[in-house]
C-alpha cells in the first residue's frame, strides 16, 4: 500500500542522483532509480512568492532497502530550500 509522509531525510548524492538516505534512524541503500521528474513550485499559492526565481522540485522514485525486502520510496528535493523530503513509500 501507499503511505504518504513529509519527513525530512538526509540524502547521499552520487553523480547527481541519490545513492542512499537516512530515515528514522536507519540507513537505506538505493538499488535502482525507477523514475525521475521535476515540477515547478506552486509559487502563486505562497504567501510571499518569489516570482523571480521560484526554483523547482525534483522527484526521485527509487527502489531501496535498509535490510531485507526492498521497498519503493519517493524522495523530493526542493532546489530553493536545498532540502530533501521523503514524500511517499510503497511497501
Amino acid at each position: 500500500m501507499t503511505r504518504v509522509f513529509g519527513d525530512p531525510v538526509e540524502v547521499e548524492v552520487v553523480d547527481g542522483r541519490p545513492a542512499g538516505f537516512a530515515w528514522r534512524g536507519r540507513r537505506y541503500a538505493v538499488r535502482r532509480v525507477l523514475e525521475h521528474w521535476v515540477t515547478t513550485r506552486d509559487w502563486w499559492r505562497e504567501r510571499e512568492p518569489d516570482a523571480d526565481d521560484p526554483g523547482e522540485r525534483e522527484y526521485w522514485r527509487v527502489e531501496a532497502a535498509a535490510t531485507g525486502e526492498p521497498g519503493v520510496y519517493e524522495l523530493r528535493y526542493d532546489t530553493a530550500a536545498d532540502a530533501w523530503t521523503l514524500s511517499r513509500l510503497w511497501d
Binding site: 523514475e35 525521475h36 521528474w37 521535476v38 515540477t39 515547478t40 506552486d42 509559487w43 502563486w44 510571499e48 512568492p49 516570482a51 523571480d52 526565481d53 521560484p54 523547482e56 522527484y59
Partner: protein, 1134 residues
C-alpha cells in the same frame, strides 16, 4: 541547433524576444537557430534579422495546431456537424521550410491553415500538407497525433498516423523531447523506438518558450491568460520549467536520461545536420534583397517620363527651367533605383481613391517630390514651398520610399476595397501590427491569473496612466496620484512584479490602421496571410517586416479631419447649392488668418491644443508659410532646444535674425536664422561641405545615433574647414545641427499638414455652421464634443435640439444653426437611425412607436433627450408624461399578440388603425411635473454626452459667485501674476514633453465663457494630481500667466473637486466650503521620475506624453453630477 522555438511572437505563449533568443544561441556556441512560432510566421523577419546580428544562421518554421480528429464528439449538443472548422489546440506539429521552395510552401500552408479554421484558430491536417509538400519538413513531437498515440501506448494507431504523414510527400521527422515531467523519459524512449522501427529519422527538440529556467512563471501566467482561467497546476502547459533555450550539453543530458548516451549522441548529430540543411538565405531564399513590385507593363520608366511631362502641362509649369531641371534630377534618381513601377503604382492608387470622390492628400516627405506633384499623388508644389526631394528619395537611402496618403476616415475601408479590387486579392494584403503588453493590460492579465475580482482589477489598472508595463513599480513611487492610493501592499507587489515582466510582449495581432501591400501574384509565396477582424486579407508581417521583405507598402491613413472637411463641403452644397472646391480656395484669406491670430481655433487641424493656441497667439501667422513654421515649431525638439523664442523675437523684430555664416542666410532666412527643418539640415551640410543633397540626407540619418553623430561631426569639421570656413563658425554650426539632430521636423510633412489646417480654419471663418456640423460629426480633435458645441455657441451658431422629425443621422446645418444628430443618442443602432429618418414625419409619439420600430430604451432616450419636445410644444405634455406613455405603448404592443393566442386567433393586422394604443391604459397627460433644467441637462449628458440646452457650470453659478471665481472670458483683463480662482468642466489633460523635463500637467477647463488652460508644475502635484485626474468638475487657484498678446492662462497652485465643494456649500454654506478648501494640505515639490537627458540638453520626463490615469474625459462620468436636491436649483447664470 534548436529546431522548435517559440518567441514572444507566439502571442500569450512565448516569453522571449527573437533578438534575445538569437543572442543566447550564439553565446551557447550554436551555428543555427530555428524560430517556429505558434500559428504563424509573425516573428520570422525579426528572427532572420536577429540571427544576422548575432552571426548565426536562421531556420524558419511554424508550430501549427491539428484538426480535431473527432469533432462530433466534442461539439456541443445541437451544434454544427462535420469535421471542418474545429481544431485541437493541444495537438500540434512543427513545419520547417527548406530552401526557397520550402519557404513558399510554408507561407502558403500557414495561409491555408488560417483559411481553414475560424479567425484566430487555424489548423492543418496531412491533406493540406500534401497539397504543396515541396521543401517542407514536418516534425512530429510529443504533442503531435503520433506522439499522443505513443503516449497512450497505442502502437497500431501511432504507426497508422505516421504513415498518413509520410504519404503527404513532405519530409517526416520524429522530434524527441524530454521536459523532465513525470513520464516524459519513458515516452521519449517509446517514441524513438517507433522511429527506429519504421525507419523515420529522429531529432532532439525542446519546445522552447523562454530564455532561461527562471522565466517559467511568465510562461505559466501566459498559459492561464491565454485560456482565461486562474493559475492552477491543471491549466499549465509548462509544468517543469524546462522549456528554456538549453545548451547542447544540457540537451544531451536530458536525452541521455531518456534514451541512453549512444542514442543521445546520434540524436544530437541528426538535429545538427537537419538544422544545417534548413538554413535559409535571406536574399536567395526569402527574396529580402530586392523589391517585389506590381507589374506595370513594359518600359515603366518611359511611361513615368511621359506622365510627368503631361503633368508639367496640366500643372501649368511647362517650359520653366527650374521645374524641368528638378524633374530630370528626380527621374535620374528614380531610374537608378529602378523605382518607376513604384511611382506608377502609387499614382494609380491615388487616382483610384480620388475617382471615388474620396478626399485624398499626400503627407510626409513624399510631398517634397515634384514627380509626386506631377503625377497627381499630391497637391502641394514642392518648388513653391522650397521642399527637397532627397529627404524622400536619395541615392544614399536604402529600401523603398514611403508615400502616405491621407483619406477621409469614414471612407477608408471603401478605399481599401477599391485597391484590393484593382490590384487583385492575390497581390494585395493589409499590414498587421502586434498589440503589446503595457501597464494596464499586463495588470489585467496577471490580476486575472492571480484570481483577483474583475472590478478590483479594473480599478487598479485604471489607476495607472498609459505607461509601459516595466514602469509600473517606478510609477507607484514617482507619481503623486498613485502614492496617495493604497496600491502599495505585498499582495499587489507580486502582481506588479510579474506584470512588469510581460512588458512589450505581443498580446494579439491587429490590422495596422493604414498599411496596404501592393505587389504581384508572388505575394502569397512571400508572406503568410490571415483574415483581419474586418475581413481583409492581412499579412502576418508588420510594417518594418514588409519593408525588410522588399514589399511595397502604401500608407492609406484615415484622417478624421478629411472627413470633417468633406462633410462641411457637402453641407454647404446641400443648404446653399454652392460648390466649394477647397483645393482652389485662395490660400491668403485675411479674415481667416485674423481668426487664427486671435487663437479662436478650436476644431481646426493641428492648432487647437492649449499649447498651439498660445503659440499662434504669439507667432501671429499671416500666410500659409507661417502655418508651416508654426506647425514645425510646436514639436518637442524646437521647444526643447529653445528655438521658439529666438524665432519669435526675430519675427517680431525685437532682435535681428542671426545667421551662423552669411552663406547660410538663404537657407535659414525663412525661419529667421533658426534651424527648424530636416531640409535645412541637408542644405546646411551641403553648403558647408559641398557633399550634395543625397549624401547630406545619408549623413542626417546617421545623426540619430550618438555614435553616428560623433562620426558625422568629425566628417563635417574636416570638410567644412577644408572649404575655408573658420573654426568658430564650424563649431557654432555643428552645435546647432547636433542639438537639432534627432528632433527636427520634415518641412514637407509640415507643409502637407498646413493645408488642411488652413482649409479647416477657412471653413470655420466663412462657413461656420457647416464647419461645426463636420467637426461634431467626425470628431477630429482632442476635445470632447461638448467643448466644440460651446465654441459653436460663442461663434453665434444656434444649437438646435434633438428632434425626431428633423435630426438626421449626422449633424446637419439648418437655418444657420446646427441640429443635434440622431447618431449621438447612446445605444441607438444604425438600422434604427435609418428607419427613423426614412419613415418620418411623425405626428405623435404613438405614431413614432408604431412606424419607426425603435427599441424601447432608444425611444426612452429620445424622449429624455427632448427628441419629441417639438411635437408637444404648447401642450401640457412633458417629457415625464411621454416617458410614461412609452411604457404603456410597450406593454400594449407586447400584450396584444399573446392575448390573440389565448383566444386562438391570429393577431389582426389592424394595429396601425388603432389610434393611440397607449391610451388603452389610463395614462393621464400633463399631470406629472416637468423636468427641472438640471434634470434635463443631466439627461442630455447621460444620453448625448453633451449639455445641449445649457452649460453644466450654470448650475454652480451661486457658489462660484460667492467664491469670486473669475470667468474664462475675463481672465485676459486680469493682471499678470494676480491670484485668482477659476472653475469649469475638465475637457482635456495632457502631460507633454517640456523643456525642463518635468512632468507638467496641462488641464483645460470650460466654464461656458471659453476655455481656461491650467498648468500644474511638479511642485504642486503632491496635492493636486489625484484631484486633477480624478474629477470632472474642478475649481482651481493659481496665478495669471500671460504668454501671448491676448492669451491668458493659469499657473495653478491648488485645486478641488467642484462637486464636493458644492455639496459642502449646500450643507454648511460658504464657511464649510472655505474650511474644505483650507484643508488641501502642503505639497512637497519633489521631482517626478528620472528624466532622460539628451546631448542637446533637452530632458524628457518618463511620463511625458502618456495618457493620464483615471477614466477618459471625452464623456462625462456616469454618476450624478450635482445635487438636484430639495426643490433646488434652476440654472443661475454665472
Amino acid at each position: 541547433m534548436h529546431l522548435h522555438v517559440a518567441s514572444a511572437y507566439s502571442a500569450r505563449y512565448g516569453a522571449a524576444a527573437p533578438r534575445a533568443l538569437a543572442a543566447r544561441a550564439a553565446e551557447l556556441g550554436m551555428r543555427t537557430l530555428a524560430l517556429t512560432d505558434r500559428d504563424g510566421l509573425y516573428g520570422a523577419v525579426r528572427h532572420v534579422q536577429a540571427c544576422q546580428a548575432a552571426g548565426i544562421a536562421p531556420v524558419l518554421g511554424a508550430d501549427l495546431a491539428l484538426a480535431d480528429p473527432a469533432p462530433h464528439e466534442h461539439a456541443p449538443p445541437g451544434g454544427a456537424q462535420g469535421g471542418s472548422g474545429r481544431r485541437d489546440p493541444g495537438r500540434r506539429v512543427v513545419v520547417l521550410a527548406e530552401g526557397k521552395t520550402g519557404w513558399a510552401s510554408l507561407c502558403r500552408l500557414v495561409t491555408a491553415a488560417h483559411a481553414a479554421g475560424e479567425r484566430g484558430k487555424p489548423w492543418i491536417d496531412p491533406g493540406m500538407v500534401a497539397e504543396r509538400p515541396a521543401g517542407l519538413v514536418v516534425l512530429l513531437g510529443p504533442a503531435s497525433d503520433v506522439g499522443r498515440a505513443v503516449a497512450a501506448r497505442d502502437r497500431v494507431r501511432a504507426t497508422a498516423l505516421l504513415e498518413a504523414w509520410r504519404a503527404t510527400g513532405a519530409e517526416i521527422v520524429i522530434e524527441i523531447v524530454n521536459h523532465h515531467g513525470q513520464g516524459d523519459g519513458p515516452r521519449a524512449a517509446r517514441m524513438l523506438a517507433l522511429a527506429r522501427e519504421v525507419g523515420v529519422p529522429a531529432v532532439l527538440g525542446n519546445g522552447v518558450r523562454y530564455l532561461e529556467a527562471a522565466d517559467h512563471p511568465v510562461a505559466q501566467v501566459l498559459d492561464v491568460a491565454r485560456k482565461l482561467v486562474p493559475l492552477h497546476r491543471r491549466h499549465l502547459d509548462d509544468q517543469t520549467g524546462h522549456a528554456y533555450l538549453k545548451s547542447a550539453d544540457e540537451m544531451r543530458r536530458s536525452a541521455e536520461l531518456a534514451v541512453g548516451p549512444d542514442e543521445a549522441e546520434a540524436l544530437l548529430r541528426a538535429t545538427q545536420s537537419l538544422s544545417d540543411r534548413c538554413v535559409l538565405d535571406p536574399a536567395r531564399d526569402l527574396g529580402m534583397d530586392r523589391a517585389h513590385l506590381p507589374d506595370t507593363g513594359p518600359e515603366p520608366h518611359g511611361q513615368l517620363l511621359a506622365r510627368c511631362l503631361q503633368g508639367l502641362r496640366r500643372r501649368g509649369v511647362e517650359n520653366r527651367p527650374e521645374y524641368e531641371a528638378r524633374l530630370s534630377h528626380e527621374l535620374d534618381i528614380i531610374g537608378r533605383k529602378g523605382f518607376a513601377s513604384y511611382f506608377l503604382t502609387v499614382a494609380d492608387a491615388a487616382a483610384l481613391v480620388r475617382d471615388l470622390g474620396i478626399r485624398c492628400a499626400i503627407r510626409g516627405s513624399g510631398a517634397g517630390s515634384l514627380v509626386n506633384y506631377l503625377l497627381g499623388i499630391g497637391d502641394l508644389d514642392p518648388l513653391g514651398h522650397d521642399l527637397v526631394m532627397e529627404r524622400f528619395l536619395a541615392d544614399s537611402r536604402t529600401g523603398l520610399p514611403d508615400i502616405d496618403l491621407d483619406v477621409e476616415s469614414a471612407r477608408r475601408l471603401e478605399a481599401y476595397e477599391a485597391l484590393f479590387q484593382r490590384f487583385g486579392t492575390d497581390a494585395t494584403a493589409c499590414v498587421s501590427m502586434m498589440e503589446t503588453y503595457r501597464a494596464r493590460s499586463a495588470i489585467r492579465d496577471v490580476g486575472g491569473a492571480m484570481g483577483l475580482p474583475p472590478q478590483e482589477i479594473d480599478a487598479i489598472a485604471k489607476a495607472f496612466p498609459h505607461i509601459r508595463a516595466r514602469q509600473i513599480r517606478a510609477a507607484l513611487t514617482d507619481l503623486p496620484e498613485l502614492r496617495r492610493s493604497n496600491l502599495n501592499n505585498a499582495q499587489l507587489g507580486v502582481i506588479f512584479k510579474i506584470a512588469e515582466r510581460l512588458d512589450g510582449l505581443p498580446r494579439h495581432i491587429a490590422m495596422h490602421p493604414c498599411g496596404v501591400l501592393l505587389s504581384n501574384p508572388t505575394l502569397r509565396d512571400r508572406t503568410p496571410v490571415e483574415q483581419s477582424a474586418a475581413g481583409f486579407p492581412m499579412s502576418q508581417f508588420d510594417k518594418e517586416d514588409v519593408e525588410a521583405m522588399g514589399l511595397l507598402k502604401l500608407d492609406v491613413i484615415g484622417v478624421r479631419m478629411q472627413s470633417t472637411l468633406a462633410h462641411a463641403v457637402a453641407e454647404i452644397e446641400r443648404t446653399t447649392g454652392e460648390q466649394v472646391d477647397l483645393e482652389a480656395v485662395p490660400r491668403d484669406d485675411e479674415p481667416t488668418f485674423e481668426m487664427i491670430r486671435t487663437a479662436r481655433t478650436l476644431g481646426c487641424f493641428q492648432i487647437e491644443s492649449p499649447g498651439q493656441r498660445e503659440l499662434v497667439a504669439k507667432l501671429l501667422p499671416r500666410d500659409l508659410s507661417d502655418l508651416v513654421v508654426d506647425i514645425s515649431l510646436f514639436r518637442p525638439g524646437p521647444v526643447g532646444s529653445d528655438m521658439v523664442n529666438p524665432y519669435l523675437d526675430s519675427r517680431h523684430e525685437r532682435r535681428r535674425a542671426v545667421y551662423p555664416h552669411p552663406d547660410l542666410e538663404p537657407v535659414l532666412r525663412e525661419s529667421q536664422g533658426v534651424v527648424v527643418w530636416h531640409e535645412q539640415v541637408l542644405r546646411v551640410l551641403d553648403v558647408m561641405t559641398g557633399c550634395g543633397l543625397s549624401d547630406a540626407e545619408g549623413m542626417r540619418r546617421r545623426m540619430s545615433s550618438e555614435e553616428g553623430l560623433r562620426k558625422v561631426g568629425t566628417w563635417f569639421r574636416e570638410r567644412a574647414s577644408a572649404r575655408g570656413y573658420d573654426d568658430a563658425t564650424v563649431e557654432r554650426v555643428w552645435r546647432t545641427l547636433a542639438a537639432f539632430g534627432a528632433f527636427g521636423f520634415c518641412k514637407a510633412h509640415a507643409a502637407s499638414f498646413a493645408l488642411p489646417t488652413y482649409q479647416s480654419a477657412w471653413l470655420k471663418r466663412h462657413h461656420t455652421a457647416a464647419f461645426f456640423a463636420g467637426v461634431l460629426t467626425h470628431d477630429p480633435g482632442m476635445y470632447p464634443k461638448r467643448v466644440i458645441l460651446d465654441d459653436a455657441r460663442h461663434f453665434g451658431v444656434p444649437i438646435l435640439p434633438l428632434d425626431v422629425n428633423r435630426s438626421s443621422a449626422l449633424w446637419q446645418v439648418e437655418d444657420g444653426g446646427i441640429r443635434v444628430a440622431l447618431a449621438e443618442v447612446r445605444g441607438i443602432s444604425d438600422v434604427e437611425v435609418e428607419r427613423i429618418v426614412e419613415r418620418r414625419p411623425y405626428a405623435s409619439l404613438g405614431d413614432f412607436w408604431r412606424r419607426a420600430h425603435a427599441s424601447r430604451p432608444t425611444v426612452e432616450r429620445l424622449v429624455l433627450a427632448g427628441g419629441f419636445d417639438a411635437l408637444y410644444r404648447d401642450t401640457p405634455v412633458g417629457r415625464r408624461d411621454l416617458l410614461c406613455r412609452v411604457g404603456a405603448l410597450d406593454r400594449a404592443s407586447s400584450v396584444r399578440p399573446s392575448a390573440g393566442l389565448v383566444t386562438g386567433q391570429l393577431p389582426l393586422g389592424d394595429d396601425l388603425a388603432t389610434p393611440e394604443p397607449g391610451m388603452l391604459e389610463d395614462v393621464p397627460l400633463g399631470e406629472l411635473p416637468p423636468m427641472a433644467p438640471s434634470e434635463i441637462v443631466e439627461a442630455e449628458l447621460d444620453i448625448l454626452g453633451m449639455d445641449v440646452s445649457r452649460h453644466v457650470i450654470s448650475f454652480y453659478g451661486d457658489l462660484l459667485r460667492a467664491l469670486g471665481a473669475v470667468p474664462a472670458r475675463e481672465l485676459p483683463d486680469r493682471e499678470k501674476g494676480e491670484e485668482v480662482l477659476v472653475a469649469g468642466v475638465k475637457v482635456a489633460t495632457q502631460t507633454p514633453a517640456v523643456r525642463s523635463g518635468q512632468r507638467v500637467i496641462f488641464a483645460t477647463l470650460d466654464d461656458a465663457t471659453g476655455p481656461v488652460d491650467l498648468t500644474f508644475f511638479e511642485s504642486v502635484q503632491d496635492r493636486c494630481a489625484a484631484t486633477v485626474f480624478g474629477s470632472w468638475l474642478l475649481l482651481a487657484r493659481g496665478k495669471v500667466h500671460k504668454p501671448g498678446f491676448r492669451a491668458a492662462s493659469l499657473t495653478a497652485t491648488e485645486c478641488w473637486d467642484l462637486a464636493v465643494l458644492d455639496e459642502a456649500w449646500r450643507e454648511g454654506g460658504i464657511s464649510a466650503v472655505r474650511r474644505l478648501m483650507a484643508g488641501s494640505g502642503p505639497s512637497r515639490g519633489r521631482p517626478i521620475g528620472r528624466r532622460m537627458t539628451y546631448s542637446s540638453g533637452f530632458a524628457v520626463s518618463p511620463y511625458a506624453d502618456v495618457g493620464h490615469a483615471g477614466p477618459a474625459v471625452r464623456r462625462p462620468p456616469p454618476a450624478r453630477l450635482w445635487h438636484a436636491s430639495q426643490g433646488s436649483s434652476g440654472p443661475t447664470s454665472p
